[in-house]
Symmetry: C2
Subunit: 156 residues, 2 copies
Amino acid sequence: MTLSADQGARLVALLTDIAIINQLTSAAATRVLAPQLGLSEYSLLNHMVRRGDGETLTRLARAFQVSKPSMTATIGRLAAKGLVRVESDADDGRAKRLRITDAGRNAHALGRARLATLQSELFDGYDIAALIEHADALARLREHLDAQRNVRDGLA
Amino acid sequence: MTLSADQGARLVALLTDIAIINQLTSAAATRVLAPQLGLSEYSLLNHMVRRGDGETLTRLARAFQVSKPSMTATIGRLAAKGLVRVESDADDGRAKRLRITDAGRNAHALGRARLATLQSELFDGYDIAALIEHADALARLREHLDAQRNVRDGLA
DNA sequence: TTATGTTAGTTAGGCAACTAACTATAAAAG
DNA sequence: CTTTTATAGTTAGTTGCCTAACTAACATAA
């Protein structure tokens, strides 16, 4: 299948807008979390607070759709700050279980409050209800691209 | 203004989807351009082909909404590959003018062809027309966030 | 029981973005 | 005309992502 030139150009424009939105929002989030936490570190703490800890690195990497080396680095930074503990699995000598510490829960709560404030500021005077109407279309696009990636990786 | 908890959660989900879409598409683009070009390098060549060369580093950084050090690094990689030439400005001893070389134009053409192929593969069987209907909403969001950033930086 | 293959995680190296702090030049203010 | 301020660009260091290549441990089958 070949795209028309016009469709191709519109698609590029849409993906460019998405890249810029991502850049601006993640930069803002990174700023308000600094210097205690990086954004990926907050995201990982958030996952543990909401869905429980005790997961392995590989399962976390899959949940966040990042590579294992990325997850290794993020866990390493959190462990260095004492916000998580890495325990070895009794049943599988290869696996490691990730546990959040009390300090980790405190850091997460602080980050969460700062992000809530940021969200209010950033979307002050913006019609969020109208924006949310487009959420489904983006979710479908994400699912399609994810499926394509799995095909490429032979995971389909 | 405070967001409702529900709105906040939906907004986070939407921004998360945007981050993942950006991640998947830019990773795919990076793969097909490698190892000749990085994605930021292609983007810069594309800008010079379409809008003409001879711009300064600072103006390019502003056009791409990236920091000056990022642009310095991107230009440095392109210059090392002989795809651009950096000329000093006769009128302003601080400024540098960026020129694309013939090798740069060739590299751009090759990258463009590869990206077109990728686009066809990635969106094979996807309803692009339906997707494009949401482009305006994303453009508005981008503009809003960009305006907010300018307020913060005192550029309003 | 050994050989084969898979899975968990790390290391190494590269791209791309950021901020903070710097040099050099130009422009404005005194 | 000198001093101050602003602008152009670089350097240094961090975050965060990637792929490729590796070790260690587990699972299965000859």
